[in-house]
């Protein structure tokens, strides 16, 4: 891959070991897709030399939402309420917009109870990498269908799903999300690449990761299952990511490609496997998702990117220093100011 490898002696650019990025032991089921995603987050944070104290982990409720306890022990974590993580993420990032933020949600958490907060978070362009660990079921409550479950899917416990799925990528797109990507938990390389790109994005970056539930949703006929994933996955675009602090330019495979410059100057170098897709083309992205839905397929890769929208902290005209750390003399007006107000009211 096209990023600078961490120094050989087992520490990264800021002197931390891979261990410093670990979390507590997972209590998820063996083989759960969510655990692979945690592993990817650990890897990427290490590789990118992210300062864990300057990152926050946020989640809702669900098996997926438990995972922030299983990575980045040195980062503050907030395991909130079911479906309501987007709002608390919004608040946290208003309080301190200098932090990086990873939000972990499930398909029930985002698509069912949380769809409203999700859409409004995207609309506000809250600077968070928002990962949907999408298995089409409610794992933690034992296997009911979520709103992203395939139409016509049959599960032992839940029966037949007769409702059409909500596509969280499509929802993000129509709510003007500037970074919409999808991947598959069983494809570590792609997940890591997309994660790195997402972490450089200025506003909301949505990463919908198909993450099979081995306990309740791993039937051959579900688009969210491993078996299905491996055989049906259709990689749309692959790309490499070059963080700016890394001055080495690496040779990269030839072929059709498109460059996208990230807000921090980083460049992602797209390699289109499907030469028809340009991730800067909204209409193309809409079409792609719409067609994939009809075919009950999922598209992986960077579906859409647009760096133009201002993030919430920019819209709010926040100062450089985080609001949470402003000193008293900055946030409490003077005695004179109060006196002047009182005069006006007399």
């Amino acid at each position: 891959m096209a990023i600078q490898e961490p120094p050989a002696q087992g520490t990264n650019l800021i002197g931390l070991t891979r261990n410093d990025y670990k979390g507590r032991a997972s209590t998820l089921c063996k083989g759960c897709g969510h655990d692979s995603i945690s592993a990817r987050i650990i890897s990427v944070a290490y590789d990118l030399s992210i300062q864990p104290t300057q990152l926050i982990k946020l989640s809702g409720i669900g098996c997926s939402s438990k995972t922030p306890a299983y990575f980045l022990n040195q980062s503050h974590g907030f395991n909130g309420l079911h479906g309501r993580m987007p709002s608390m993420a919004t608040g946290a990032l208003l309080a301190n917009h200098t932090l990086k933020a990873i939000g972990i949600s499930g398909d029930g958490d985002t698509g069912s109870i949380g769809i409203g907060q999700y859409i409004h978070m995207v609309r506000r362009n809250v600077p968070v990498v928002y990962i949907v660990e999408n298995n089409g079921v409610y794992g933690l409550t034992k296997g009911q269908f979520s709103a992203t479950a395939d139409e016509g899917q049959q599960l032992k416990y839940a029966g037949l799903n007769e409702l059409p799925p909500i596509d969280v990528c499509m929802e993000a797109l129509v709510a003007d999300c500037g970074f919409v990507a999808r991947s598959f938990a069983g494809d570590p390389r792609q997940v890591e690449t997309l994660l790195k790109a997402a972490l450089s994005h200025r506003g909301t970056a949505v990463l919908d990761i198909i993450s099979p539930c081995v306990s309740f949703n791993d039937h051959e006929d579900s688009t969210k299952s491993y078996a299905w994933g491996k055989s049906h996955e259709e990689v749309v675009s692959d790309f490499s990511f070059i963080p700016v602090r890394n001055e080495i330019t690496v040779d990269y495979e030839e072929g059709q490609s498109a460059d996208v410059t990230m807000h921090d100057g980083a460049v992602i170098h797209l390699k289109k496997l499907d030469s028809n897709h340009d991730p800067r083309d909204r209409m193309a992205a809409l079409r792609l998702l719409e067609e994939a839905k009809l075919k009950q397929e999922f598209i992986t890769g960077l579906i859409y990117i647009n760096e133009e929208r201002q993030s919430l902290s920019e819209l709010e005209r926040l100062p450089e220093a985080p609001l949470a750390r402003l000193p008293e003399d900055t946030v409490r007006p003077s005695r004179d100011a109060l006196d002047a107000l009182m005069k006006d009211l007399m």
Partner: protein, 611 residues
Amino acid sequence: MNTTSVRSGPQVTDIEDSPSGVNNFVIVAATINGSGSQTANNCLLRALFKMGIPVTAKNLFPSNIQGLPTWFQIRLSADGYVGRRDTCEVLVAMNRSTAAEDISKVAPGGMVIVPSEWKLAEDRSDLSYYSIPVQQMAKDSGANADLRPYVANMAYVGALVELLGIDVDEIEAALMQHFGGKRKAVDLNFGVVKAAIEYTRANITKTDPFKVERSNKTAGKILINGNEAGAMGAVFGGFTVAAWYPITPSTSLVDALGDYAKLLRADEKTGERTYAIVQAEDEIAALGMVVGAGWAGARAMTSTSGPGLSLMTEYAGYAQFAEVPAVIWDIQRMGPSTGLPTRTAQGDVLMVYYLGHGDTRHDILFPANMEECFEFGWRSFDLAERLQTPVFVLSDLDLGMNLWMSQPFTYPDKPMDRGKVLSAEELAKLGGFHRYEDVDGDGIPYRTIPGTDSPLAAYFTRGSGHNAEAQYTERADEWQANLARLHKKLEHARTLVPAPVLDEVPGAEVGIISYGSNDSAIAEARSMLASRGIQTSYLRLRALPTTAEFQHFLAKYPRHYVVENNFEAQMAKILQTEAPAYAAHLTSVNQCDGLPLTGRWIAQSILEQER
């Protein structure tokens, strides 16, 4: 009939409330909302205030934007009583659809101003009727057609100036202030005022006894409403994040917050702000944002009313259990449910105290006047951060949206208290910390702010079971230990929340207990009772949980009346559980008709019990 109307409270006869003719009566302007009468009414109020006459105003407006009845009630009180009075001596009847009922309620001997255009039968011989060609004056003003209904209101201002003897210069000054000195607007309106004065002088013979006289009783005072006062308090409390969702009657608090913050906390040149105010998509999100911000170290707040509060239930419980500071203003309006959005009540007390499932309990502040709205505006942040918990400020529509006289506000008497927050340096010294450990024996643990530059700073916040180290646990012992510590914290809060205000009278045999906006009516009720030989002592709660003073007060008197503006006698119920030994000594004096309680009704209710 879809008519909106306001009736007085229960018919009371024992306690008379007869006003004198000078500086001591109630003016009611009955108009139609959306017609712009607010300018006229506020100018009147301000002019009287500037004449040194104690005044208070109650604006009774409908939950709609245009076309429905509105009543603006100005009470003048030489004695300085600012509670509602349910009489009306001077009626300005500008709304034809309610005129008959409005006139029927004027006190005998009162006056009524009506538009000449109505050709009204003046069928109450005990009233003085004055008719004014309101529409003609508006036409004559030179205002273009769509502005005419608006300036027409100035005609009754002019009539009142002449009939009551209001200083016309104060009216002009009030208009100047209202229009920010825009001379053209002032002239247009003031022209109508002057025309009405002249018309009245020339055509009307005054036959009623009501008039005003310059006094000195408002010197040094300010005129403000509670939502503005609370917002100002929050700005001086160093709020940094506010998230909200529009709802009457709480919206104007956030509006004022935006105005004051822009004035005092934004860089004029760069536009950079030391705060963020976000209109959320609903109240779940509003409180979610506040909790997220509070967790990340901001002084975060929201403001809402009943329906919004209901939606905040889940996050409120979370914040209390996960120990995240937050300030939540509830500007109470009439419920249940959508209820009457533009009527006042104190109906959320029980709900807020226990807001959340599974054994949640909260700390609540009850401001009773403008100074306390301001003070609790900043102090609530100190408490929330000190106690690491949501602090609710329960105001109401009467406090929040009506104009009140007040002493000027006092600058915060101490620096901001950010509570037990550990810095990177302290962490290094300590070698780490346990997020939910009771180090100091007060139940309050230490926290760190995300972004603290130390590998020892991080902890994991959750609404599920956790031990002192903030780790997930399902152990019965750890669960109990954590709840016990939270309980200790709630007990400790009793020593930190504002103590009640006490007014103990020698020889009193009766205690009155109340809170919030009832204060002014109670002052009046107590003097009415005293004049019948019933001396009362008074304890005004300013917070829940209750403090030691409350228990002492209970012990001193054999009978206590708990006065409140709701149907369920909510505070009385809470007090019964706070002091079971005295539960039977508490009698509720409560009602709930959408209007602020009156001194007369309170006095009458207590009188009935006491004899």
